[in-house]
């Protein structure tokens, strides 16, 4: 009954951690339980999402199930 959020780049600074276990369920519900500053940052226009290692094209209607890993990816700064 747990899923995982992963925070990359500056999002890890805002979260104060690189990943966080969360209850399963709709993403909106999960975000509502986070500190508001972090939730706002995660919903930023330039943040991309990857669910279980696959980039998401649409960010709507995401529901996390048992063992799912959702990564929040800010713009990359390159190699």
């Amino acid at each position: 009954m747990a899923a995982k959020l992963v925070f990359l780049g500056r999002l890890a600074d805002i979260a104060g951690m690189t990943e966080r276990a969360v209850a399963t369920g709709p993403l909106e519900t999960i975000l509502a339980d986070l500190p508001p500053e972090l939730a706002v940052a995660l919903l930023g226009e330039r943040i991309r999402l990857a669910l279980n290692g696959e980039l998401l094209v649409s960010h709507g209607g995401i529901v996390l199930g048992e063992g799912d890993e959702l990564a929040f990816l800010p713009p990359v700064s390159g190699g």
């Binding site: 290692g53 713009p75 990359v76």
Partner: protein, 147 residues
Amino acid sequence: MIDVRLLTEQFEPGQFIGAFTAAHPGLGGICSFVGEVRGAGGVEALELSHYAPLTLPGMAALAQTASDRFGLMGILILHRTGQMAPGEPIVCVSAASTHRRAAFDAVDYAMDHLKSQSWFWKREKRAGQWHWIEPRADDYADLSRWD
């Protein structure tokens, strides 16, 4: 041969390039680029974080695309992660080809895509403080050359 690696410790590019060269008897030429951490602007350290489920598959896909596009005999892509000091190598790309032009273009192409499209996040330490690095407009301009 396609050889793509994320390295967590300091590495010696010549060792990898030497082995990569030896693995391709009959090549005409090999082009290599090695990027080092720059110390300009008072940078004391650089840290690269990545997201494992995307980063290495992304580099492997880039290597395959470059190999196909330029008809290479082989391509080597090495990238450091973690914390580095100025002067340490951060990236190494080598392309082996029967034609000089293809080897040059492949390394150029791979570097442009690594710099702008790979899943790395960089921060640098200046005066004891860490600062995240934003993408540079130049990187996108470089990338558009290949469209």
